[in-house]
Amino acid sequence: MTHRLKITAQLITLACVAGLLALLVWKLGHQQHPPRVGAVAPAFSLRRLDGPGKVSLASYRGRPVVLNFWASWCEPCKSEAKVLERDWTSYHARGVVFLGVDYHDLASDARRFVSAHELTFTMLDDGSGRVTGRYGISQVPETYVVSRQGRIVAHLAGPITDPSFAGKFRSALAKAAA
């Protein structure tokens, strides 16, 4: 009887340890990293921030897409907004799509931000950060340039107003629009 009890206790302990190990492996396997340049941009469908309905990345296949992740509480996003709007107005005639993805933000504050900065490109709401997580965003602003084939051409982990990113952004945009 005592021996059986001991075996049962050992089995339970083993099962607990195995469960914890499985949990650790699962967590490590599900850590989100930014997709690499050249990889297919993760698909998504998000609510529009500026109106009803949803927008999916797949619906823009065949057109270059600039994906800009931002938030109304983000200071550098304010100076970047003007530059993005200017680039959008000069590139949209060439078929380039600009999508702003508002991340971990209050939708009401985000709408106020869009209106205050007179942004006219499509804005999407990712309040929960689900899509942003798939793009491995750890800070805002961050920008991805996606080719007509749906592949990532450039990833800029910082404001495009930053001198180190500005040139890279322009050349990626030109490459994607070509």
Binding site: L5, A71, W73, H104, D105, G127, S128
Partner: protein, 153 residues
Amino acid sequence: MTLRFLAVVAAALALAGPAAACAKPRTSLAYLEGQVMCPTCHTTLDQSDSAAARQIEGFIRQKIAACWTAQRIESALVANYGRGILAAPSHKGFDLLAWWLPIAGVLGGALVLAVGVWRWSRRREPEEPEPPEGSGLDEETEQRLDDLLARFD
């Protein structure tokens, strides 16, 4: 003069407005700061000083002033940020495990401890000697012992 008086009254009313909107707040910022997560830093609001946390605190303050209950504020935050904005898991579905597993763990640990202590105390108890059958001596030795004892009578 009358215009100036009216302007002062209007300004006073405008300033008193938010305070008068909720004379008896139904929850507090201190309470909700421990219940709501900062979405960018993954700690509760009271442990964060990030811009996102400050934005949510501002929202909570505004809703407390509008007399909202804690539950209503939490629901509004969940609608905007998703369930992950709350520090505590829900009492439904898979999340129930988060509530019951620690209790099951404590109960299991207590049971193991109780069984261990019980077994340990049993091992330490001195075993009572079994009473010998008869005197345990053979007949000859018993006879000699009787003879020896008889001498002392």
